[in-house]
């Protein structure tokens, strides 16, 4: 899989939800994703304009920009299986 894969997690400051989301994402990356994924964490508190630019409403939001179509997951990503389903990463098994 050489297609570019990009995940961005939008958080707002160090709220418990954001912290939980970051931790959960790290865990998912480590356990289920290969290194072809570029994973970014954006703190909107530092640049609120990005919320408008990327059309973010809920926090935290995980956006799969690539491959298209864009897929968004909102929440603290506490259910790994669901996250993987929605990211359409193929069967995790």
């Amino acid at each position: 899989m050489n297609k570019p894969k990009e995940l961005t997690l939008y958080v707002a400051g160090q709220t418990p939800k954001s912290v939980a989301a970051i931790r959960n994402l790290e865990k998912i990356c480590a356990e289920h994703l290969d290194s072809s994924y570029v994973v970014k964490v954006v703190d909107l508190k530092e640049n609120p304009r990005l919320a408008r630019e990327h059309n973010i409403v809920a926090i935290p939001t995980l956006v799969r920009q690539l491959p298209v179509p864009i897929q968004k997951i909102i929440g603290d990503l506490s259910d790994t299986e669901k996250v993987l389903v929605h990211l359409q990463l193929g069967d995790p098994a």
Partner: protein, 558 residues
């Protein structure tokens, strides 16, 4: 402005009156209603008027794209795009596509708040519109989070001191889908679009308004060429000013029937009559008289167009076109079925308050009786009469009666009216004659006669009634009777003249006889005097003779 809470003017015609100053400043207001009832228009009017008055605003749209919103209100003369350029208004489009969204675990809407804050800061907004809140929340599935976030949103708006208008769809049986927004809002306005008997009416009601008195009625509102306007029609009761001034009816003969020479200013006058009895013509005489006095008059016609009125009145010598040209007369024609009763009333009130006439004609009110319910019509007319009275406007109402029975009007209008003219069109001996009768005139002594009225090229005249042995007559019967009278009069006069001549002659003759007799008497008297003189002379002579004789005898004896 009442003490207590501060208010922000919306600039919506009529709305600021009902709310006594507008929406609560710095607090959220919920505007709810079903689709197509004017929520977005209400919100954008509020925002645009605010921006023009120096209160910048943010329009947050969850549905329509910013360009659509600009286009939609452009037809109303809101130059939203130029306001955006001047940075008085920011349009924030927050689109959420539920199909590309999945929920895993706990979240909040901090992103939304950040974006709102950013937009508010960019223009220094004092006002904000969220249109519509349902579209935002329908994208999310977790009801618990949603409710918490709605609450947080309202609190946030209050903390920021933003005068907010939040639009919401009506839920089943409740004001809103979530059933929560109305409790956290300080003011709730319900917009409604109802169709009854195929006639649609938009209505508005203030469901709640914390900390201030407000009108609680349902008010009809219009979305017209000049935007959103609410039309408050308050019931005013009976505490209006009364006028002693009399107004000429424009028909001199009619004025003469009333002691004082006319009807009172600001009275309500009803003309009822059958078809073709001349109701509109009499009404237009009043209008003409008012315009001639330099006042303004307004005619609401529910059957004729303005041009038709002008043409028809020309036939009785009234040139109303010149009054229209001079701006003293306005004719507004609308079929009763154009709007609902409420809306008719509201529009009339709005037009009257704009034109400020001193005389208003509603021709005919019976047209409504066919379209609406009797009680509603009566209520509407009552409000109309009250409105006119409280503004010192004379009201003229015509009513088409289906029969000539006196004393019965379909909507029980009599008690509302100060004066009631009955126009009859009666058939006698194969011809119809128009008659006018002043059935009632409050506070005025008036003639009790039924007068024949004729419409000529020179206007309307009331003819003196013919009172003969068989009662009052009209039409040719009157003319015939009058001719008969004239003939009888002539012959009677001839007779008298003849008799007079005869008497004069007799007097002459008698005088002659008297003169003759007097001459005879004089002659006899002269004769008598002569005889008496002769007698006296004789007696004197006899005495003298006797004395002479005695003297002679003495001389011979002595």
């Amino acid at each position: 402005m009442t003490a207590g809470i501060e208010k922000a003017l919306t600039g919506i015609e009529g709305f600021d009156d009902i709310t006594m100053g507008g929406l609560p400043r710095g607090r959220p207001t919920l505007v709810c209603g079903s689709a197509g009832c004017g929520k977005t228009l209400f919100a954008s009017t509020f925002l645009v008027n605010g921006a023009r008055a120096g209160e910048p605003g943010v329009f947050v749209t969850f549905e329509e794209r910013p360009s659509d919103i600009v286009d939609n209100v452009a037809s109303l003369g809101f130059e939203l795009d130029s306001l955006v350029e001047e940075e008085l208004i920011a349009i924030e489009h927050i689109a959420i596509d539920p199909s590309e969204l999945a929920e895993v675990g706990d979240y909040d809407l901090e992103g939304l708040f950040m974006r709102l804050e950013l937009a508010v800061e960019e223009v220094g907004a004092k006002r904000i519109v969220l249109d519509t809140i349902e579209s935002l929340f329908s994208a999310f599935q977790n009801p618990a989070i949603l409710r918490a976030e709605i609450r947080r949103l309202f609190d946030w708006l209050k903390d920021k001191g933003l005068t907010a208008v939040i639009t919401g769809e009506r839920g089943d049986g409740a004001l809103t889908r979530q059933g929560l927004e109305e409790y956290v809002s300080d003011c709730v306005i319900l917009l409604d679009h109802r169709v009854h008997n195929q006639i649609s009416t938009r209505r508005m009601r203030i469901v709640k308004y914390r900390g201030t008195p407000h009108g609680t009625n349902e008010y009809p509102f219009l979305i017209g060429e000049d935007g959103f306007s609410v039309l408050p029609v308050s019931s005013l009761g009976l505490e209006h000013q009364v006028y002693d001034e009399r107004l000429s009816s424009g028909i001199a003969d009619l004025d003469a029937m009333l002691t004082g020479g006319g009807f009172h200013r600001a009275s309500s006058i009803l003309f009822s009559g059958v078809a073709g009895a001349g109701k509109s013509s009499v009404a237009m005489c009043f209008v003409d008289a008012a315009c001639a006095r330099g006042e303004r008059a307004m005619v609401f016609s529910f059957e004729e167009s303005a041009d038709q009125i002008v043409r028809n009145m020309r036939s009785i010598g009234l040139d109303v076109a010149k009054w229209i040209d001079e701006g003293r007369l306005r004719c507004i024609s609308a079929r009763p079925t154009f709007y609902s009763l409420e809306m008719h009333l509201a529009i009339m009130v709005r037009e009257i308050s704009r034109f400020r006439p001193s005389l208003v004609v509603l021709d005919p009110i019976s047209a409504f009786l066919d379209s609406g319910e009797q009680l509603e019509v009566q209520a509407m007319l009552l409000r109309m009469v009250d409105y006119l009275k409280s503004n010192g406007i004379t009201g003229i109402f015509t009513n088409l009666a289906h029969d000539q029975t006196v004393g019965k009007t379909d909507a029980g209008l009599s008690s509302l009216m100060d004066a009631w003219l009955l126009l009859l069109n009666r058939e006698v001996n194969g011809e119809f004659n128009r008659e006018l009768y002043l059935l009632k005139a409050r506070g005025m002594a008036h003639s009790n006669q039924v007068r024949e009225f004729v419409m000529t090229e020179n206007g309307i005249r009331l003819l003196e009634p013919y009172l003969g042995a068989h009662g009052a007559l009209t039409g040719s019967a009157r003319r015939l009777a009058e001719a008969q009278d004239r003939r009888q009069e002539t012959s009677r006069r001839a007779e008298v003249m003849a008799l007079q001549d005869k008497v004069t002659q007799r007097r002459h003759r008698a005088e002659l006889e008297i003169a003759t007799l007097q001459a005879e008497v004089a002659a006899e008297e002269a004769e008598l005097r002569r005889l008496l003189k002769a007698e006296e002379d004789y007696r004197n002579q006899a005495a003298a003779d006797l004395a002479e004789l005695a003297a002679g005898r003495n001389a011979s004896g002595g």
